[in-house]
Amino acid sequence: MALLYMATSSERSPPPFPEDLEPEPDEVGDQDSDDGEDIFLGADNPLEIKMDHSLPASDIASSTKPLSEASSAPVMDILSEPASEAFSAPMMNLLMEPASETSSAPMVDLLMEPASETSSAPMMNLFMEPASEASSGPMVDLLMDPASDDLKEPPKPDINPLADIINDAPLSEVKTPVAAMTQEPPSDLFDDEPSELFAEPRQSNTAKQQQTSIFDEPDEDLFSEPLGEALKKPQNDVFKEALAPVAKASNVCGPLSDNYNEDPTDIFTEEAITTLPSAVSTVSVNSKTNGVHSDEEEPDIFAEATVELSLDSPRNDRKKKEAAKPSASASAPSVSASASKPQPKTLEELDEEIEDKFELNISITNPEKVGDGMNAYMAYKVSTQTTLPMFRSKTFTVRRRFSDFLGLYEKLSDKHTLNGYIVPPPPEKSIMGMTKVKVGKEDNSSAEFVERRRAALERYLQRVVFHPSLLQDPDVREFLERDDMPRAHNTQALSGAGFLKMINRATDSLSKMTIKMNESDVWFEEKLQEVEAEDQQLRKLHIMVDSLVGHRKELSVNTGGFAKSVAMLGSSEDNTALSRALSQLAEVEDKMEQLHQEQAASDSFCFAELLADYIRLLGSVRASFDQRMKTWQRWQDAQNMLQKKRETEAKLLWANKPDKLQQAKDDITEWEAKVTQYERDFDRVSATVRKEVLRFEKEKARDFKKQIIKYLESLLQSQQQLIKYWEAFLPEAKAIA
């Protein structure tokens, strides 16, 4: 461990942490959303921090302190105190800021200040990345989780780390080669993204990232020197080493959050006080436990921690739920440890296995109209059934309205699209359909509309939770679990998907005009073409299937009309047998009407909806390609900038102006760092996009097969019915005499 850290630290100058710390929260948030790749980037830092300070336990404790304060005390305090401390103790700063963020207090302010600081220091940029990564380490996570706990959902964060470790580890390994190639961690991405964009909820993810990042960084560091060759053996070793810290981190997280939930007057307070006399009682509780865990690296200790929790639990209302989670977290480290030991292949397998086991059933039922007139809306019952330990219970239901679904998408999309993820889009808003429902016409079409939307929402949600990374997002869990969901905003006027599409289209055409990307990777070029061609074909197909639905409905109506006519004809026919046969024919036609109608419904629900889903999803796929392109563009811009800076330096040298020379050199270092970082970002986003596209294609193949087979089965049933009807009719026709 030590060696690794040293290496990393030497590569990256860690001194300016204080400034960096502030930006990091944002970055962390972003990274969290990413898969294992991101994790790799961030991993270096936590280790580094520990090395420098050589007081991991105390650091953690201190960090926890600010955190707890942040949550409990007003935001103002947090800001003032940490700020002063920041300069003296780098660690403190890191902790403080994340804490304030978690509290969902004025994030912007915090960010603003740090920003100014960073600007003053020339090295800033370089440091920004490592620092931020460092902060994203276990400490941040701890802080983050508690914050989220405030929102009434303590258990989730705890479990996340564990699950993440398991999921991410394999992923990270898979990607390692890529990461290794890129010599520096791409934390730059985060700089670009305005921190304001992201609301509070991302923080819990950070925990996950850090852990995974631990895995990554070792690889990179080790290999960066030997020309970044990804040798499997070294990697494994690295993992083993890395595991310990990871486990630690995860354990720490769990207990910490748990404690946090408990009342401040716990038994632990006293102990805490002993460790940190200066700390406030509430703070001390958290800090104490943290300290204990961090000091001891062994998993056994965690077991103790869980025991403590269980003791506490009798007092707390929530303790029961929590109790289950700590234990889960305790076991998780061991799982991750075992997983990490074997070769990467086995890790992948493990990952797959987990995906298979992955038990989470979501159903949306009982659409219900709430309210009257134009303010009316449909509320849906979202039921979750799961064996995943990250949820509070095995089954739970919440009520959500359509805009909540859009809100969820917006949150997810904000966080994850930037990193190249394919975020499943929700169904689009339909003013026509909804207005009908609002007006309260209880006719067929509005019932069909509601059912169609219900099914679309269900599929949307299933796609979200089926995505291993999105499932980890706290917003998803909040959406599934939280009873009183805050009303989603900004979805009123425009549907999220529609809005996004508009922006996408605008940026699409813009970037296509401005960005001429000389594609280094043929795979992406081909895939993008494929996606575009497929999009076109699917749209065409969708139109046709819609037209089939229309014609089939028309056929149903016309068959009904014909049935009536034949019945009338039969009644006026004066040959008895013929009259009887005609009325039988009318009955057959009546049934056919029903059959055609059912078939139209399954045309629409099995086939057309599937196509509509995938047309929307392909939009998201394209967005992730666009994102990659943007990242590339930024990297190119930075390279150009660096080139300019070098030219300036050369000019200055030539002009013999030593006073400005230093500034120029600083600039160059700054931009060199940026270039490397941006390049890394690009590689990371590329890897994510590639992985996501492959995943998407797998899902698509599965979905299409499943749905089309279902559709064909519905056709088959229709035909069977048809045979039955005509077979019954045939003797009637023969009986005419």
Partner: protein, 410 residues
């Protein structure tokens, strides 16, 4: 557009099911006998007219030969029909309804549109569409031919009409009959005649018939005609939407094919298989629609015209009855005034004879009509049910085997 059915209808491309090869499928069980057999052996579609080759086989002494063919156009069929209608001798018979005018306009229009849209679609799509339209055109063509043939067969099977001189000329005279279409004035006259006739028809229909049989037939035919008209329209609509649905499936199949040929992944193979399936099922769907058209819609359409012809017979009889009653009244008045009694008596007798003659043959005609109708419905409904079953079973088999393959793959 030039479609030739060289070997006659029976060897046309296989898009109507085998069972309905014979043009007689449309209607009826006519008691043909060997003494006079008429069919349309060939037909030629030119720009705006269809030339039918009418083939006759006969042992009747009126004809110079036992077997001969002539070329006739639609207008000549109409001429023949009108000559029957106008012949007072035949007032007591149901005049076989004239065949409908060949109408290729819709089909032609579509083909023209296709030509315009040629640039906007792929070659495969274009070829496919063209084939479809040609098939559609051919179907209309065949139906037209069948309708004309049915008319001739009905006449040939009629005990009285088969002896008509005009009919024999129509069959035998191997030159153009130089019938011309009606000009504007004649059409106007026809129109007024029709208006008068229908106004008169209402009047006549209001008269209570002394004969229960005719009274019953009158109410029956009035209602039946309206309902068969409705059913015919509805069946057309039903079949039209069925055809549209089949077209949609066709287009879906070709788009799936395009999707499937984009690369060679697993899904693409899947798409190709589904495309293949849809390609087959849509053919079946199209045939279902075509068979419904032939067995159901055409039957109803035929009986729409036939019931109109029967109604016309009843009108003629009703008219004769009214005339007869008026003549009676005139005779009474003449006798009361003792003036022109003889003249009145003569006219009364003429009317009486006419009425009785019509009544006599009309009764038999209406009974025959019913027999024919029941037989035709039976035949067509049985065939319809059998075809529906056949297609549904074929469809089912396709789906089953395709699902088996698809499920085996996944």
């Amino acid at each position: 557009m030039h479609v030739v059915l060289c070997q006659g209808l029976d060897d046309g491309p296989d898009f109507l099911s085998e069972e309905d090869r014979g043009p007689r499928a449309v209607n009826v069980d006519l008691q043909t006998d060997a003494t006079l057999q008429v069919d349309i052996s060939d037909a030629l579609s030119e720009r705006d007219k269809v030339k039918f080759t009418v083939h006759t086989k006969s042992t009747l002494p009126n004809f110079k030969q036992n077997e001969f063919s002539v070329v006739r156009q639609h207008e000549e069929f109409i001429w023949l029909h009108d000559s029957f209608v106008e012949n007072e001798e035949y007032a007591g018979y149901i005049i076989p309804p004239a065949p409908p005018r060949p109408d290729f306009d819709a089909s032609r229009e579509k083909l023209q549109k296709l030509g315009e849209g040629e640039g906007s679609m792929t070659k495969e799509e274009f070829t496919k569409m063209k084939q479809e339209l040609e098939a559609e055109y051919l179907a209309i063509f065949k139906k037209t031919v069948a309708m004309h043939e049915v008319f001739l067969c009905r006449v040939a099977a009629h005990p009285v009409l088969r002896k008509d001189l005009n009919f024999h000329v129509f069959l035998e005279y191997n030159q153009d009959l130089s019938v011309r279409g009606k000009n504007k004035r004649e059409k106007m006259e026809d129109f007024f005649k029709n208006v008068v006739k229908s106004a008169d028809g209402v009047l006549v229909a209001g008269v209570k018939d002394v004969d229960d049989f005719f009274e019953h037939e009158k109410t029956f035919l009035l209602e039946y005609h309206n309902r068969v008209k409705d059913a015919s329209a509805k069946s057309d609509r039903m079949i039209r939407s069925h055809k549209s649905a089949a077209d949609d499936i066709n287009r879906i199949a070709s788009t799936l094919y395009t999707l499937g040929t984009q690369d060679s992944t697993d899904v693409c193979k899947f798409f190709l298989k589904v495309s293949e399936l849809f390609e087959k099922t849509r053919k079946i769907e199209a045939r279902v629609a075509a068979d419904e058209d032939l067995k159901l819609a055409d039957l109803l359409k035929y009986y729409l015209r036939e019931s109109q012809a029967a109604k016309d017979l009843l009108y003629r009889r009703g008219r004769a009855l009214v005339d007869y009653e008026n003549a009676n009244k005139a005779l009474d008045r003449a006798r009361a005034k003792n003036k022109d009694v003889l003249q009145a008596e003569t006219s009364q007798q003429v009317c009486c004879q006419k009425f009785e003659k019509i009544s006599e043959s009309a009764k038999q005609e209406l009974i025959d009509f019913k027999t024919r109708r029941v037989a035709a419905f039976r035949k067509n409904l049985v065939e319809l049910a059998e075809l529906e079953l056949k297609h549904a079973k074929g469809n089912l088999q396709l789906l089953q085997s395709c699902l088996g393959v698809l499920k085996g793959d996944t």
